[in-house]
């Protein structure tokens, strides 16, 4: 794993009265332990990766408590794990990135929600919405509504988050319903503190085994005719129970003064509370501590709504502004229905004043508030002026800086090779996938005709290949392969005797999310032996699996041999072989390799052993500044600098000191017959006396031949 959580694990052990300092998502982890969970699972993805990562690393401690941790292979298996709480009074929690994770989990989620749960079942979803998001912009809210699963959206501070998690288990048990908690990106990463409670060892656990399985109970299966009864239970029993719990435990909060008929009030999703208050401060509607001067109803539970609570609040206000993020406006629609049925005449504002999509930042909210309270102060004039001056002085827009393959990433060479193949055979339809390799959709590669989800690339080319003169290529990471790609892509292609080409990036980990382990990750002893070299070469789980399934054309290539990768792709595109062609592009994630090799080299150097460091360089004098090398690589360490030649005004290519010596520059220079400016430099430290002597003689001879 990319990051070590040794310090964070210690804060998971804090006892009652001690103060926990840390990230929002790790506060959730601690809250789970305080709630006495029996099991935890999930699938990594920003912004909730750390929840599970820290638990995986904390396994020895969790074993002491009897808590089981499962690093699930996808969200579907994580959701299915919650089945343990259907028939047993055990608490469990799972986590994933939403909306995509919830989509993958949808089947299990429905089947879980239908019979309902006995023990508390909590799903922590990272609502990947707005700035910094990496997925399609949709709301998890829709899933909560259609499955009848409750959805919490707590105020974004650690004490509120922790108490929400604890209450979520109680709510789940009180209403026999799984509960989701949505946490936005910045909330997951917020640094704060809360007063800890002691962790609770679960009553039924890996340390306190249960002797007998649960008795057979057909009515707890998601199977007809039980499902008909489940549907009825959802609205006849569980919903009223949940609403009662929300009221009894005051999960929604009233802030500011008591509502009065002469003043407007605001209803807000808990997660947006801080942005709302900051906006109110800007307009002089809240004090410096954050106490609002208007009545605010904070919905920490956004589904279900409690009609009587809302009606009472709205009735007491002159106008109501509903602050709801994203679309469709589910809360507004429901609230409007409740008000209409109850005959409440209070005007309701929401999406008529707020944007339908996008994050509701303080500046967006401020403009809506200004319509609500027209005599509030305006502070935006200076900002608009500043933006205007900036636009005028900067001229063109600042170019974007999307994420890129890391320096030395083994996936970059595959795309360099693909670019060279396209030069020979023409453009090819490329189905892209989710993972680091999706960075190839950015410059300089700009590859990919579709992205249809994690592990879906091969499946998404199934329709295309039938009407394409050239075979389409699907690209998939090993993370996507095990998440979904093997089944929805490979098996389907084999069943239908598909003719496409699949490139599997075998880098050994789910790298984009923080190099979590896969079933095909290289084993520890292999990594130790490999030292700084790729450790994925000898790991054959993917190849063996594919062979076992009947893939007849499969080649493994090492990514850095660009010419070889190029030739293999070309062969896959042109061979007479009729079925699926799989190229396993092998090269271990550079982050993992660097993590191993850096201490290793430092130790060798300290011990005075011979150490060879490799890096690349570009000759200033021969570089013509056309940058074709950069168009085939995009490596962060291959950059430009002003030429030292006063006759050349254009910047020349330059390899900076971040170079890890991966060798791509040289390979590309060769494969593309690019330019003679590249050279490899090997710096040998601590060479022996004899080696140095020979080198000195050689240098002496060479100097006779070298002009100055």
């Amino acid at each position: 794993m990319e990051r070590s959580f040794a310090r964070e694990i210690e804060s998971l052990k804090l006892g009652a009265g001690e103060t926990f300092y840390g990230e929002g998502i790790l506060a959730v982890t601690k809250a789970l332990l305080q709630s006495g969970v029996t099991y935890v699972g999930g699938y990594q993805g920003s912004p909730v990766s750390h929840l599970l990562d820290v638990m995986v690393q904390a396994r020895p401690y969790l074993d002491e408590l009897g808590v089981h941790v499962e690093a699930c292979t996808n969200e579907s298996s994580a959701a299915a794990m919650l089945a343990a709480s259907v028939m047993y009074p055990v608490r469990g929690a799972v986590t994933w990135k939403s909306i995509v994770g919830t989509n993958v989990a949808a089947d299990a989620l429905s089947n879980l929600a239908s019979p309902g749960v006995m023990g508390g079942a909590v799903i922590v979803v990272g609502e990947d919405y707005g700035e910094g998001a990496s997925v399609i912009q949709e709301r998890t809210h829709a899933f909560a509504m259609k499955c009848s699963v409750w959805l919490l959206d707590p105020r974004p501070n650690l004490p509120s988050i922790v108490s929400s998690v604890e209450k979520a288990f109680e709510l789940s048990e009180a209403s026999n319903t799984p509960v989701m908690i949505e946490l936005r990106i910045r909330t997951c990463h917020v640094q704060g503190s809360f007063e800890a409670k002691s962790n609770r060892a679960p009553a039924i656990s890996s340390r306190a085994l249960q002797d007998e399985p649960a008795a057979f109970a057909y009515e707890r299966l998601a199977h007809p005719p039980a499902t008909y009864r489940h549907e009825k239970l959802k609205y006849e029993q569980r919903l009223p129970q949940a609403r009662q719990f929300v009221l009894d435990h005051a999960l929604n909060e009233f802030m500011g003064p008591k509502p009065v008929r002469t003043r407007p009030g605001i209803v807000v999703q808990g997660g947006l509370y801080n942005s709302l208050i900051r906006a109110m401060q800007l307009l002089g509607l809240a004090d410096s501590q954050g106490e609002p001067q208007l009545s605010v109803l904070v919905l920490n539970v956004v589904y279900p709504l409690v009609p009587e609570q809302l009606i009472e609040f709205c009735e007491a206000c002159s106008d109501v502004l509903l602050v709801e993020e994203g679309q469709p406006d589910f809360i507004e629609q429901e609230l409007a229905t409740h008000l209409r049925r109850a005959g409440v005449p209070t005007p309701l504002h929401g999406k008529d004043w707020l944007p339908m999509g996008g994050e509701l930042t303080s500046e967006v909210l401020a403009s809506a508030l200004q319509r609500l309270i027209p005599d509030s102060i305006s502070s935006m004039a200076e900002v608009l002026k500043a933006q205007e001056i900036a636009a005028e002085m900067l001229g063109e827009l600042i170019p974007a800086r999307p994420p890129n393959f890391c320096t030395g990433c083994p996936e970059r060479p595959v795309f360099s090779a693909l670019k060279l193949v396209e030069k020979e055979v023409g453009r090819v339809h490329i189905s892209a996938d989710i993972g680091c390799h999706s960075f190839a959709t950015f410059a300089p590669f700009s590859f990919g005709n579709s992205i249809l989800g994690y592990g879906m690339s091969l499946a998404s080319s199934a329709g295309v290949k039938n009407f394409s003169a050239r075979r389409p290529i699907a690209i998939m990471g090993d993370g996507g392969f095990w998440h979904n790609g093997l089944l929805s892509g490979v098996t389907s292609s084999l069943l239908n005797r598909g003719d496409g080409v699949l490139i599997v990036m075998k880098n050994g980990y789910t790298s984009a999310t923080g190099t979590q382990e896969l079933v095909s990750s290289p084993l520890e002893d292999v990594k130790v032996k490999a030292q700084g070299n790729s450790a994925t070469g000898s790991e054959l789980t993917i190849e063996n699996t594919l062979r076992g399934m009947g893939v007849g054309w499969m080649k493994t290539v090492h990514n850095y041999r660009v010419s070889e990768v190029q030739a293999t792709i070309k062969e896959a595109l042109s061979t007479d072989y009729p079925g699926l062609k799989v190229i396993v592009a092998e090269g271990e994630c550079q982050l993992e390799r660097q993590r191993r090799i850096k201490p290793l080299l430092a130790a060798q150097r300290a011990k005075g052993e011979r150490v060879v460091r490799t890096r690349y360089g570009v000759d200033d004098a021969t570089c013509t500044g056309d940058h074709s090398c950069i168009r085939l690589s995009g490596c962060p360490s291959l950059t430009v600098k002003p030429s030292i030649d006063p006759l050349k005004t254009e910047p020349v290519a330059h390899v900076n000191n971040d170079c890890v010596g991966c060798g791509l520059c040289g390979e590309v220079a060769h494969a593309a017959a690019l330019c003679p400016s590249f050279h490899e430099i090997r710096v040998v430290s601590n060479a022996g006396a004899f080696e140095r002597f020979v080198a000195r003689i050689r240098h002496w001879i060479l100097l006779r031949w070298m002009p100055a």
Binding site: Q191, A286, S362, E382, A386, P403, H627, I630, T649, L674
Partner: protein, 535 residues
């Protein structure tokens, strides 16, 4: 200011690139705030930006008053116009936040690095795609309450640390942190890298504090002046450099030819203000073109003692370290043929066609500071002796002469030896002269197309020919009747060819001018056999 304006917590935005330790800096600030009796909150949107993308951190703090039981409300994202400090480790990222309105004159102290990490789109441009950093600095100065500029990367490198330590020191040096330097040192701690971090912290802190006040360190940010302010001096400097370059490239006689060409062009009249607007650029381009990179030149440049010394320096090799330098060479048949004496070269090219040799030979990894490698390079460098009789030389000289003739044609329309543009040659319609100057300005850019090696060079060359035989040929048909539209088309086509190395953009512009596209090049038929599904 409106009396109702509410005090809010102090707001700090950190703009950084993934992997620069922005998270570490945020952690230090949070820890220091806690230790010095402040309420504090920090958050970020790292996501996949950890992989070298742009990223930002946001921190708010407020002094913990006596008897205050709970923290004030903190926001999770910066609000435009409400940022007290913006610190950025990269100049373009500073520009991005300026664009968003994060820096406002009444509120924001701006601390920015002047170092650049170029974005891919800037780097991959055919020529110079870099954003003008000066512009960003000017905007920053205009918009910030105080602004401080320093080269954070250079400082970090100097002290063997990462940018986060420099940023922390810069914040302390600017006096925006409500706690002592001792507290900063304390939170940096005593870990493995702490010593270097503290050294970097102190250096940045002192550099800023020493330059007293707010607008400091700005002097550091002025760009390197390459050209002389006096254009005539500049011109002679370039001619001097050109002469040296060509003597080194070939011999004194060749340098002589260079000067003669320039003399012919400007009729010894370069010192007019008008001629000087173009002459330095013409001299520069001509020198570079005449010193075109062939195998002999590359081999010569790669086997010099000064080069190995420079490589040693750049790689940071210690005195006792040994270096091995390996070259990646893959000379094509055509490149070899082009430096052989013309007859031999032609024979080789015929053989290539007859025997269908591949375009490039086997890839060579040559140790240039080894004996066999160096001797081979020196041997190749000797081809310079018969360069004058080589195929490539003849072709390049013909192209140069043609370019000079074109240039001269339009140049003579715009001026006639006299000093100012108003002196239009007799018989030339007055509206033509300014247009002719503009044609010259475009013509000067044309040799840029011919750069690069192998495929890149071939594509550039064909774009050059294409432009020469189409829109430039049209302009030459009747130079005395330049149409503004024809000039604009020529300029657009040149822009297109320079920005898109594949030549597709060029063809699009040409198509718009009613010029038929080139016949599609023969490409091997690519056959993927269909599988019958009905067997």
């Amino acid at each position: 200011m409106d009396a109702r304006v509410i005090a809010r917590p102090y707001a700090v935005v950190i703009a950084a690139l993934g992997g620069e330790g922005g998270g570490v800096l945020a952690g230090w600030l949070v820890e220091a705030a806690r230790r010095s009796n402040h309420w504090v909150q920090a958050t970020s949107v790292p996501g996949v930006a950890q992989r070298t993308g742009a990223t930002s951190y946001y921190i708010e703090w407020a002094r913990r008053e006596d008897g205050q039981a709970s923290a004030p409300l903190f926001a999770l994202s910066p609000t435009v116009g409400q940022v007290d400090v913006l610190i950025s480790s990269e100049l373009l990222e500073t520009g991005r936040l300026l664009e968003r309105g994060m820096v406002t004159p009444s509120t924001t102290t701006l601390i920015s690095s002047i170092s650049r990490a170029y974005t891919v789109v800037e780097k991959m441009a055919m020529g110079d795609g870099r954003v003008d950093g000066e512009k960003i600095q000017r905007a920053g100065r205009a918009l910030a309450k105080h602004s401080t500029w320093l080269d954070m990367n250079a400082l970090a490198a100097e002290h063997g640390t990462v940018v986060s330590a420099i940023m922390f020191g810069a914040l302390a040096g600017c006096g925006v942190l409500p706690w002592s330097i001792a507290v900063c040192h304390e939170v940096i701690g005593s870990g493995r890298h702490a010593k270097a971090s503290i050294a970097g912290f102190n250096a940045a802190c002192q550099m800023i504090a020493a330059s007293s006040g707010s607008q400091i360190a700005g002097a550091l940010a002025s760009p390197v002046q390459v050209s002389s302010p006096d254009p005539l001096l500049n011109y002679y400097k370039i001619v001097q450099l050109g002469r040296e370059r060509l003597t080194d490239y070939q011999d004194a006689q060749y340098a002589e030819l260079y000067e003669r060409r320039l003399r012919d062009l400007f009729n010894g009249d370069v010192d007019s203000k008008f001629a000087l607007s173009l002459a330095p650029e013409v001299a520069r381009r001509l020198a570079l073109w005449m010193a075109y990179e062939d195998v002999a030149r590359v081999a010569d440049l790669k086997s010099r003692a000064s080069r190995f010394a420079a490589i040693r320096r750049e790689a940071g090799a210690g005195e006792r370290d040994l270096i091995e330098v390996r070259e990646f060479l893959k000379p094509g048949v055509e490149e070899i043929a082009s430096v052989l004496p013309a007859s031999l070269g032609r024979w080789l090219m015929n053989q290539k066609d007859k025997r269908q040799w591949p375009a490039t030979g086997p890839a060579q990894r040559l140790q240039s500071n080894g004996l066999p490698g160096l001797l081979l390079l020196r041997a190749l460098a000797q081809a310079r002796r018969w360069r004058r009789s080589s195929l490539r030389f003849a072709a390049e000289q013909a192209a140069i002469e043609d370019w000079l003739v074109c240039f001269k044609t339009f140049w003579s329309l715009s001026t006639r030896g006299s000093s100012e543009i108003s002196a239009v040659p007799s018989g030339v319609p007055p509206q033509v002269a300014p247009l002719a100057v503009q044609v010259c300005q475009e013509l000067v850019r044309m040799p840029q197309l011919r750069k690069g090696y192998s495929d890149t060079h071939a594509r550039g060359l064909s774009n050059y020919q294409r432009l020469r035989t189409t829109l430039l040929a049209r302009l030459l048909e009747d130079p005395q009747a330049i149409e503004p539209a024809a000039l604009a088309a020529f300029r657009a086509a040149l822009d297109a060819a320079l920005s898109d190395p594949e030549g597709r953009a060029l063809e699009k512009v040409l198509g718009g001018e009613g010029i038929a596209p080139l016949p599609a090049k023969g490409k091997p038929i690519f056959w993927a056999k269909r599988v019958s599904r009905h067997t």
